[in-house]
């Protein structure tokens, strides 16, 4: 035991913890540096021993999968060290996430930007699927962006291996707005197509700048999907009426072409979007096929990552807003590992609510500023 402890203590010395940048249900996130190279990192400290069943499943999953995955579009786990009752994950430091970028009104998206982000998302996802891992929590919040523009999949707290034949899986995964219909119908046997649906929703959101299928309850979510994409027929999706949660819908919605809503999108883009949002999961496009879709090869080329729009908002403000977001799932894990430079930029006081949030967030802002709110 002592040998292991000593080893951990030594390893811990490589990383310098700085300030706290976020807190979640089971973990606290700090910003930090690698002592040797001064590289910026984030340390996610997971408290162990407060759950009656021992080590938390989300923590286990995160560690298990991040340890094995190394890809430029998946967040990198640099190290793991532990003290007596703490598990510390050293992750690369990522500035912001896609959600912040989408919400930032001062940023303009070119079609090439959207194409670039989608390509990176698909690449990261394809790598996960190649390693037989389902992510099961894809949403813009969990797609973090680095300083050089690279997009990375993060938050593997709900991930799991592909199931062996005949094994049931839980259907309470993925945040409601990005959840595919088969999960809303409580399917217990599903596959990698659930992630593709989420990516399709994210694609749509990038084009619309607001969430595409935003239901306000689980029941309403199905209705929202049907309204947007038409009620599926037995022919379109064989067997879906036999899924556990299926009820005869009161209204049958017709299919409206995507073009009606996505007026500015190219035909290629809509084609790919349509293939991601196919009802029958087996017919949904796979990540690898998506990467080979003509949309990506067509003009314009995907933007170079360094040119992608970047958001300047502070994460402290975000943390306060997080609690108010309606779509936070019960299953969602702690905040992702993203932070901004505290206090390095003075942000103009724009709107009243941001001012309020800022005064709360001020508590967490450790750069000593003497100004008054």
């Amino acid at each position: 035991m002592d040998a292991v402890e000593r080893e951990n203590a030594d390893r811990q010395k490589r990383w310098a913890k700085e300030q706290k940048v976020g807190e979640g249900t089971y973990a606290v996130v700090y910003r930090g540096r690698e002592v040797a190279t001064n590289r910026k990192i984030a340390i996610k400290k997971i408290k162990v021993g407060q759950f009656k069943d021992g080590l938390d499943m989300s923590a286990i999953r995160e560690v298990k999968y991040l340890r094995e995955l190394k890809h430029q579009n998946v967040i990198e786990l640099l190290d793991v060290f532990s003290s007596k009752t703490n598990l510390n994950l050293v992750l690369e430091f990522l500035d912001s996430d896609l959600e912040m970028i989408i919400k930032d009104r001062s940023l303009v998206f070119l079609p090439a930007d959207i194409k670039s982000w989608m390509a990176m998302t698909f690449r990261g996802l394809e790598f996960c699927h190649r390693n037989h891992i389902l992510h099961r929590d894809l949403k813009p919040n969990n797609l973090l962006t680095a300083a050089d523009g690279q997009l990375k999949l993060a938050d593997f707290g709900l991930a799991r291996d592909f199931a062996d034949p005949g094994h049931k899986m839980t259907c309470q995964v993925i945040t409601r707005w990005y959840r595919p219909p088969e999960l809303l119908l409580n399917a217990r046997y599903y596959g990698s197509a659930v992630d593709i649906w989420s990516v399709g929703c994210i694609f749509a959101e990038l084009m619309l700048r607001i969430p595409y299928l935003a239901g306000d309850s689980d029941i309403n979510q199905l209705d929202t999907i049907f309204r947007a994409l038409g009620t599926p027929t037995e022919q379109e999706w064989p067997g879906h009426t036999k899924l556990p949660n299926w009820h005869q819908p009161s209204t049958t919605y017709p299919k409206t072409p995507l073009r009606d809503l996505f007026t500015a999108a190219s035909a290629d883009a809509l084609n790919l979007l349509g293939k991601c949002l196919v009802y029958e999961p087996r017919k949904r496009i796979s990540a690898l096929e998506a990467l080979k879709h003509p949309y990506f090869f067509a003009i314009p080329f995907p933007s170079h990552p360094s040119k992608l729009p970047k958001c300047a908002a502070q994460v402290a403000v975000r943390a306060a807003e997080d609690a108010e977001q309606a779509n936070i799932d019960q299953n969602s894990t702690g905040p992702g590992v993203r932070a901004a430079e505290p206090g390095s930029r003075k942000r103009k006081l724009n709107s009243p609510e941001e001012f309020r949030a800022r005064s709360i967030a001020r508590r967490l802002d450790f750069a000593k500023q003497a100004n008054s709110p």
Binding site: H132, P165, S192
Partner: protein, 407 residues
């Protein structure tokens, strides 16, 4: 030419409306404007009025052989037996009347003014009213479209009205047969009888379907109206806001001026203060707007931002063409072949899947097979380690992947 453009925009014929454009000389592109006062019924009506009449330089009346060169305002109409004839423009008719000279009247007028008469080409009896303007180049197509339109009114069942796909397809086949017969003039009386029989048998269902379609069209229209109204409201609001801003700015200017005049303070300071407060107000309003407008309120700066962004995109690092996979990982894919199905004990449950639940949920047993095949190949080539490893590498050692090398 505006008149040319006007034609292209396909103005619909209005009864009694005279030609709005000037008469062109023969050398310019002729245009066909429906100048005739008679509305010719029948044929293919396009309610939105966007479909224009078909015309070409080669048009020639088969009866009197006058063509567009001699008669720029030649208008060829199509009869129900799908033969073309032309009508003279009203101008020439007037001329004729005025000069009292009986020129070549329009063949249609000539032949049919006195009542029904046989078509000079195929001898079928026609009325004047039976003529209509042509929409498609190919008369065959014209005929077919008209027939199908008519049939669609009668035969409007959908998949849901049938018990299974097979029945629906049979029904569709029947309809196609009827259409084919009518188009090619095969067994016309029998086919007509069939249509009548079907009509009688399914009157109720057909009526119900018609109602449903109407309701749907109505709902769609309402939705469109609603959208339009929203858009208009938003635009109006925008205009209003801009107006407000303008007024505010004016007021500020006036205030500033009066202050400069009356007070003794330093002019520069006053101006600066005014500007500051102006800016504050502006940014407050801008963010308010974006917060309130929810969806895509970018405000007036959007165009500017877009321009800035596009410029930036052009000047810095060039975009590279897309490469599907950019990593160097090798997954042993070339060492095995995933076949579409395996007779495999573990996937019994999946194969049985009585209710199709597994399939509907999207479980793909191929993914599990792929994983098994891959793991059968992974690491097969590795030679075992030999000998004592040198002492544990110091903790600061990091392997290629940036991972700490542990014990």
């Amino acid at each position: 030419m505006s008149s040319y453009g006007g034609w292209l925009r396909g103005k619909t014929v209005k009864k009694g409306a005279a030609s709005s454009s000037s008469v062109n000389t023969r050398s310019s592109t002729p245009h066909v404007q429906s100048t005739s006062t008679t509305i010719y019924g029948g044929g293919i009506k396009d309610p939105s009025g966007r479909v224009t009449e078909y015309f070409s330089m080669e048009d020639q009346c088969p009866v009197c052989k006058s063509d567009r060169y001699l008669n720029p305002k030649l208008r060829l109409l199509v009869s129900t037996c799908y033969h073309k004839m032309h009508v003279l423009s009203i101008l020439l008719i007037l001329m004729r009347v005025l000069t009292g000279v009986f020129r070549c009247e329009s063949c249609i007028d000539r032949l049919f003014t006195l009542g029904p008469a046989p078509c000079p080409i195929c001898s079928k009896v026609l009325r004047k009213l039976a003529f209509s303007p042509q929409t498609f180049e190919d008369l065959e197509v014209e005929k077919e479209v008209a027939i199908r339109r008519r049939l669609a009114k009668e035969f409007n069942k959908r998949l849901e009205d049938f018990d299974d796909l097979r029945d629906y397809n049979d029904y569709l086949q029947e309809v196609e047969d009827i259409a084919f017969n009518l188009i090619n003039n095969i067994d016309v009386p029998q086919t007509e009888a069939k249509i009548q029989a079907y009509k009688a048998a399914n009157a109720a269902l057909t009526a119900a379907n018609i109602q449903r379609e109407e309701a749907y069209a109505l709902a769609l229209k309402e939705q469109e109206d609603f959208d339009r109204r929203e858009r208009e409201a938003r635009a109006a609001q925008l205009v209003q806001e801009q107006e407000q801003e303008r007024l505010e700015r004016e007021r500020e200017q006036n205030e500033l001026i009066s202050k400069l005049e009356t007070s003794g303070k330093d002019a520069k300071k006053l101006v600066a203060k005014a500007r500051l407060s102006q800016q504050k107000r502006q940014s407050a309003r801008a963010s308010e707007k974006s917060v309130l407008s929810g969806g895509m309120g970018f405000g007036a700066d959007y165009a500017k931002l877009l321009k800035a962004r596009t410029n930036k995109a052009k000047t810095s690092v060039p975009d590279e063409p897309h490469v599907p996979l950019q990593d160097d990982w090798y997954g042993y894919e070339d060492l095995y072949v995933l076949r579409p199905s395996y007779d495999d004990i573990f996937s019994e449950a999946v194969r049985k899947d009585r209710e199709g639940i597994m399939r509907a949920g999207g479980y793909m047993v191929e993914e599990a097979w792929n994983r098994a095949l891959r793991s059968a190949m992974a690491g097969l080539e590795l030679e075992p380690l030999v000998g004592l490893q040198t002492e544990e590498p110091p903790l600061s050692a990091v392997d290629a992947g940036g991972d700490v090398i542990m014990a």
